[in-house]
Symmetry: C2
Subunit: 333 residues, 2 copies
């Protein structure tokens, strides 16, 4: 087997974020659960957009953010996801190309418009997402390139792929190709509500080895094991998963392997501006380190660094070159 | 004459900014004069966009930024400008409405797309703008509502209106209506290169009283009077203008009237992130204060405060509610 061409390939929903500040009352008034991601139809999208404040458009999408982060660390990276050939589709494509990511999924010429997530950022920096999937829900096995998956050290999948029709097939096809090529398959659980929708299936993916490396935050893990106790959920995870990373916001992160569980501190942040992308960028740092064969603790520190960068400004993509930042902090040579 | 319905109405190019970070080499390589605004055609727009880094889309446009700022101070405000009925046109319209501005100019259903400015922000925070005018250049006297102009204490015009065909007529029509209604006409010179293109005409507008209140920065003023010496330019301005505000970046600002010239300090800023909109927001604060009958020095302090807010983050519209900020700083009761 030749050396892989990509450190990481990501498969996920191709989304442009529409970010605005809002107070908690806005969330209550519009029936939004703080910190969640809700899927919305076009009519609700229009209603939310009309009600929300002045906004900023920045490319997003969970796996896409992660992949942009891997590239920012200097990793070789590719992304698979579907947009329409409209203005926001061109925005998404420009931004991911400009981040140095290989992205060649052809845009659709007709059908629903490019996906957008209307994200309300409250004064505490927490984000509440309302996603109109549009063209992203048309991702199917047809878009999965065997060659690209085989060429990647890690295939990274987002739990949100369980939402759109057909994307699940794309997910399973990619995982199969990756394993046949002896590559690593990684999954992020995406969101506690997403876990709630597909708990049994996600649980099975982890237990049966479809997923080699699992990313979860505290609330996703509690949702997966239906417990309010983090320690209970963690003990269950240690039974099920061979390899997992659990992020705990300001409490740092845990790297769980069969042998041991190692803890890494969060990176200090002067002011949390917008938590959008925190988990995505943690995954970026960890995956970059993992693909390059660094010790898990170093990889997790790279994750913590990237998460700290992204929550210190608006938007879910890094503003600073993460490779430089990691060198400044002596995490990379 | 009944009390005016608006504190300020602005007329200008309706533009969405596409902002990306770039180093100085990028500007040199692409033949851009740092700090300038260049008009570009669609082909050059495509080329610049393809070359520039990951971007953020935020509504912009000089006069539109000013008007959004006036509304943020709690002023009543309206805007006239032209977009197309496309995604960026809807973005512009949403954002200015969400800022609390009355904007009713009907979008075009066909013709060129909504204007965008590709803005490169260098590490020093300076911005270099490349503007594709698109639908904005179709602004004409037909869009000027007599009733709206009559209803506004101040009609605020941007020098950039001298660029598109027909917009000049819109400008002159609005100024005439405003003066017939005994209102104030204000102009910003926009940009030293813009002054260079229309020096004689701008000079005439100031001397013949078409413009009552002039906004200029140092380089625009030097360009207007074709001198490298600020003091020479200022002396010439004092001869010509009855009422002017000169902004000098970190050196603060001067309010020039027939009687006297008063200086106001710049507001301290922890870190200059992006200077886009600094002049626009200074004008916002000053115009709000002027329309509400505050002393000129107080109005200029409001301008300095708004400029400091906008240069401390990416984008040319205020992120904080300026009325609150002004109350915190004891500039408003």
């Amino acid at each position: 087997m030749s050396a892989p061409r990509y450190d990481v390939i990501g498969i996920g929903n191709a989304i442009v974020d529409v970010l605005a500040r809002a107070d908690d009352d806005f969330l209550v008034k519009h029936g939004m659960a703080k910190g969640s991601m809700s899927l919305i139809d076009e009519a609700r999208a229009e209603a939310i957009y009309a009600a929300m404040g002045p906004a900023t458009e920045i490319s997003g999408g969970s796996a896409a953010n992660t992949i942009a982060g891997v590239a920012s660390f200097g990793g070789t990276a590719a992304f698979i996801g579907t947009v329409k050939n409209d203005i926001l589709g061109r925005v998404f494509t420009h931004d991911i190309h400009a981040a140095g990511v290989n992205f060649t999924t052809p845009p659709f010429k007709k059908g629903p418009s490019t996906a957008r997530s209307y994200i309300l950022v409250t004064p505490d920096g927490e984000r509440t997402m309302n996603t109109y999937l549009g063209a992203a829900q048309l991702l199917s096995a047809a878009q999965i390139s065997k060659k690209e998956i085989e060429d990647a050290e890690v295939t990274y999948l987002e739990g949100y792929l369980w939402d759109p029709q057909n994307a699940k097939e794309a997910f399973l096809k990619a995982a199969k190709i990756a394993h046949q090529a002896k590559r690593t398959v990684a999954l992020t659980l995406s969101d506690a509500f997403c876990v709630d929708r597909y708990r049994d299936e996600f649980h099975k993916l982890v237990k049966n080895g479809t997923v080699d490396l699992l990313f979860a935050n505290e609330s996703e893990l509690k949702s997966l094991y239906q417990t309010a106790e983090f320690d209970t959920a963690l003990a269950a995870l240690c039974q099920d998963a061979r390899f997992a990373v659990v992020t705990r916001s300001e409490k740092g992160a845990l790297v769980v392997t069969k042998d041991r569980t190692e803890a890494v501190d969060a990176f200090p942040v002067a002011k949390v501006v917008d938590t959008t992308g925190a988990g995505d960028l943690f995954a970026a740092g960890f995956l970059y380190g993992f693909a390059r064969g660094l010790p898990h603790v170093t990889s997790a520190k790279l994750g913590a660094l990237a998460a700290a960068e992204v929550i210190s400004h608006l938007g879910a993509r890094p503003e600073r070159k993460l490779a430089e930042l990691a060198r400044e902090k002596k995490l990379l040579p």
